[in-house]
Structure formats: structure tokens, C-alpha cells
Symmetry: C2
Subunit: 326 residues, 2 copies
């Protein structure tokens, strides 16, 4: 009922809702209403209570709850069902469990804080409380395995476009799917997939975005390569609003991609948002270091390099260091 | 200790092992030894016990236990660690759990009977007790996601070659990975993969082989399209021995494949073992029916068809009906 009271206050934030009216609507006592209001205030909602007039919502806190994510969200599936957690090990782990249990496409797991946030290649992802978007989305595309790598590119393009819109400045994609502002990482994407024979069973797209950190909030070893939306814009942002833009952009591109022949536009968008293509790169692959100029990505998501001997090489899995154009 | 006694009897099956010697080796009483021998006899091992001479192993039953799988197995990793189960829902499900818990490459889960055996596309796989090989192998290849579909082809080629060797007659591959004798299915392969970002985390290769069934052992609806090794050869076979040939062949091809550039020979072998290439086929895909002549498979495991208009079509996911060449 607390959430329903919040919804009512949201809808009528231009006026006061009388305690009496709230009592009637929910068929409970004044004291019950008052307790829920007090609860909401403790969550950080600024609710004014004026004798003989009632309650009014003045300001919402920066929370990543289901209520804040769903409020005004312009999607049909993505984020319409939210599992919100104050603190968890890894939202990808929770989402994978829910996917196994049959939760539908679009189910979102979001946490205020992760204690075991996962990055690529077994690395940790620093996910302190109150400052970032740490979320994982369940997808169930009807796609053959061969197209699975394209899905990771769709996610990168969606986040890059959403962050570009929020900040008003290009959020560049660094292959395979880091998002950068001014050569510093603002977002990482970890895609985990479950395949059965030649078909995709479920995909978990984990998205971590640094939102309200300041430089000194990052561990020392990250301070020369991490950034946040706040550091780029100079302003605090509501995390839920940023998460909404990402979900909305992602759903649009995902639906476009699933319609036949959708990969060509995604690939073009990826290249346009990329800060990798055209750069001299050093690729640390499991089979050694390859240097060259990044010239393209192929349909499998591989980075295409022209190496120092003029040979074309495809990189499927690597850590990439970028250098300025030669 | 029961298994160690069995190993000793195996090694000395040309002579009698005295009870006294067995007592000494394991530092237990005669009664303890006798109890284990009785246990083994109840499992089906024919062990002769002669007063004043000792015990001798005369014949082994058709069991798919760790002991029978490992005995004489010519592999380095595949099947060297075995989880054997009398009866389970699905060996793929158990293997997936073990993979999540970190069990290494080559770990084998094998069951005498499956009550929830899984086939492709959510179908059931009929897995009665005492008659077939129902097993799942954990793999952890260092491979980019783009090469994952090739792995499924490696499994199909390995099983096809092993069964060809066992039966002395070509076991044909029907795309994507059914194995047929005389147009009847003797084996199905269900590959499940877990990917993290652009890399494979773990692969479960589930292999189901009909070994000792007779026609009337199959449910009515399968009788016109299923077969068993026994039906083809006219002989009962030891399931563990057949499983060993599969594991040995699979390890050889898998290692070949993982060495750089290993896919070209696999693809050639696949085509040579195929009963799909050159045939008129009807492909029931998620996007409708496509008819044509199967002309190739590509690097992604897609079946390449030339349709009735002469157009080349790639099939990533479908059920295939074969027709004789036109």
C-alpha cells in the first residue's frame, strides 16, 4: 500500500491529498496512512503534511527502486517488472537465477549496491551504494547462436546513445563494449548467455553506469581511467531517470534488431558511436599481442585490424589499448 | 574399497586372487572382503569363489559406472572424472550444476536411466534404464563466442566417427547434429553453453545413444524413425565400451580443433560424414518453410541451401526433413 500511496501523491503533486481521502481510498485508519507517509519520508521522499489540507509530494530522492524505475517509463517490456535490491552480490547472478526459473523478457534486477559486481574476464566491477546504476536485464530473443555476438553490440549501442542523450556529449564505444567519456570509462556491459543447441535460451545484459561519483569516490587505481555522469556534466542526476533512458533506448534498438535484417543499422550505429575505429590499437589476445589500426567490426562482433605488415586480422577476444591516430 | 577390489580382480583376471591376499592389501577381515565380493556379484559381476584358491573375475555386466568407463579409457581428460547415477532427471542439468560449481573440463555425468532426458527445442529424449548411453561432458574451451557453433559440429563428427568404428558402417550426420543409421536416429546431441561477454564459460555436451534396445522397446511413435546399435549390428554391446570410443574420439578431435586453424579439417569431416549435403531438404525454420538442396555448411554451422529459385539461403535453426537426391 505504501507504493500505491506514493503513486497517488505523484499523480497529484500539484495539490494536497487529504488524509481523509487517502483513508477512504485504501479503507484504512488515519494512523495507518500516517505510518506509510512516515515510512516514505524515511526513504527520502519529501512529503509535506499540512493540517486541514493533507499531504503533498515535494521532491523524490535518488532511489533505484521499482517504483522510481517504472514511474513514467516509456517501454512495453523492459523494466516493467523490477526486482529491486538494497544490496546484493551481483545483479547478473540474481537475474540468471530468475531467468532459469522462467521469468520473462524485460525483467530487470537493480541494486543500490553490489558487493560482488562482475566485470569482463572475471574482474570485479566497483559498485558502491547510492552512486551508480547496477542493473541486469533478462532477454529471450528468438535468435540462432550465430547471431548472439550481435546482441552484445546492440546493448553497447543502446547504452551509448542513451548516455549521449543524457549528457549532451558523445559517449564513445570502446570495443567490445565499454562506454567512455573523454577516454575514461563511465559504463561497462557484461553479457551472459545461455544457449541450448543452436538457439539462445536466455541472455542477461548487465549494465553498470557510474552516475554520481566524484573523482575521489573511486579507488586510487581507477582514478586515472574512470569517470561518472556527474564528473562529465558537473551535476547530480537521478539514477532512475538515467536507467529509464537506457531501458527505453535499448528496447527500441532490440526490437529493430529482431525484425529481419536489423543488424545492418546496428552495425552502422556501432561504428558511428565507436571511438575504436580508425585508431591505432594494441590488442592483448589470449594468443599474444596484436598491434594495428582498427578498421571495422564484422557481423560476429569481431574487431577487424590492419596490422603493421598490412595484414587484416580479426580479434574476437582481447583487451584493447587505444592510441591516437597515426 | 569395493571399487579397488574390482580393479585388482580386473588386473588379475587370468588367475585367482586369494582372500588372504585381499585381506592383507586392504587390511580388513575376510568377512569384509566377502561382503564386497557379494556386493559386486549383486551388481552383476560374475566372480567365481573357489575354496583354497580365491576369487576370479569371469565376466563384467553392462554397467555405465565410473569404474567401467575409466577401465582402459585412452584419454587424458575426457571421462577421467565420472559422476555416475543410477537414475536422474537429466544428465545435462546435473553437469550444468557441476560446471557452475567449477568442476573441470572432461568431467562426465552418466546415468543408467533418465526420467527427464532433454532433446533439442524443449523436446523429450527417451532414456530407459539399462539400454543406452545417457551422458554429459563438461568442456571449458578458450574460444571466442563466434566459434561456439563450430564446437557443436566437433561433437557431431566425433560421435559419428566413433559409432562408425563401433558398427563398421557409416553413421551419418543429419544437420545439425543427429546421428543416423539407415535414416533412423541412433543418437542425439544437445549442446548447452554458458557465455560471458564474448567468451565461452562452459559447455555441456549431452550425448544420448540407443545401444541395446530392440524395436519393440521404443515407444510406438518412435518405431519408424529410431534405431539402436544392437538393431544395426544384431549384437548386444557393452555400453561402457561404446562410451569410451566416443570419449576417445571426441578428445582427439576437440584437441585438434582447439589448436589454431583446427576448424577446416572438422568441417571437411563433417561434410564427409553428413547425410544432409547433396540432399533435397525441407527446413522448418522459425520464419517458415524453406525447400532446397543442401550444398554446404558454413563456419557458423549454418546449413547452406540452394532454394527452388536458385537462391542461396543460410539456415541457422530448423528441423530438417531429408528427401532422396533429385
Amino acid at each position: 500500500m505504501k507504493e500505491q500511496i506514493l503513486e497517488l501523491l505523484r499523480q497529484h503533486s500539484d495539490k494536497y491529498m487529504s488524509g481523509e481521502e487517502l483513508c477512504k481510498r485504501f479503507a484504512v485508519s488515519r494512523t495507518a496512512i500516517w505510518k506509510h507517509i512516515k515510512d516514505l519520508q524515511e526513504d527520502g521522499y519529501q512529503i509535506e503534511g499540512v493540517r486541514n489540507r493533507g499531504y503533498r509530494l515535494l521532491a523524490v530522492p535518488d532511489l533505484v527502486t521499482g517504483s522510481e524505475i517504472r514511474n513514467g517509463l516509456q517501454t512495453r517490456r523492459f523494466g516493467q517488472y523490477v526486482v529491486d535490491l538494497k544490496n546484493t552480490g551481483s545483479t547478473n547472478v540474481i537475474a540468471a537465477k530468475l531467468a532459469d526459473e522462467g521469468e520473462p523478457e524485460g525483467t530487470l534486477v537493480i541494486a543500490d549496491q553490489q558487493t560482488g559486481g562482475k566485470g569482463r574476464r572475471g574482474r570485479a566491477w566497483y559498485s558502491p551504494g547510492g552512486t551508480g546504476i547496477w542493473m541486469s536485464l533478462i532477454l529471450r530473443p528468438e535468435l540462432p547462436m550465430a547471431q548472439a555476438p550481435q546482441l552484445t553490440l546492440v546493448a553497447a549501442v543502446a547504452v551509448s546513445l542513451a548516455l549521449t542523450e543524457i549528457v549532451g556529449q558523445k559517449a564513445g564505444i570502446k570495443w567490445p563494449n565499454d562506454i567512455l567519456f573523454e577516454d575514461r570509462k563511465v559504463c561497462g556491459i557484461l553479457t551472459e548467455m545461455n544457449m541450448e543447441s543452436e538457439e539462445i535460451n536466455s541472455v542477461i545484459v548487465g549494465i553498470g553506469v557510474n552516475v554520481n561519483q566524484e573523482l575521489h569516490d573511486f579507488p586510487l587505481e581507477l582514478q586515472d581511467r574512470a569517470t561518472s555522469l556527474r564528473m562529465v556534466t558537473g551535476q547530480r542526476l537521478q539514477r532512475a531517470a538515467a536507467a529509464q533512458r537506457i531501458l527505453e533506448q535499448f528496447e527500441v534498438l532490440y526490437d529493430l534488431f529482431l525484425r529481419e535484417g536489423g543488424f545492418a543499422p546496428i552495425r552502422e550505429l556501432w561504428k558511428r558511436q565507436s571511438v575504436t575505429i580508425g585508431k591505432q590499437v594494441v590488442a592483448q589476445t589470449p594468443r599474444g599481442v596484436i598491434k594495428g589500426i582498427a578498421v571495422d567490426i564484422d557481423e560476429m562482433g569481431a574487431l577487424v585490424l590492419r596490422d603493421e605488415q598490412g595484414q587484416v586480422q580479426k580479434i574476437y577476444s582481447a583487451d584493447i589499448l587505444l592510441a591516437p591516430p597515426v
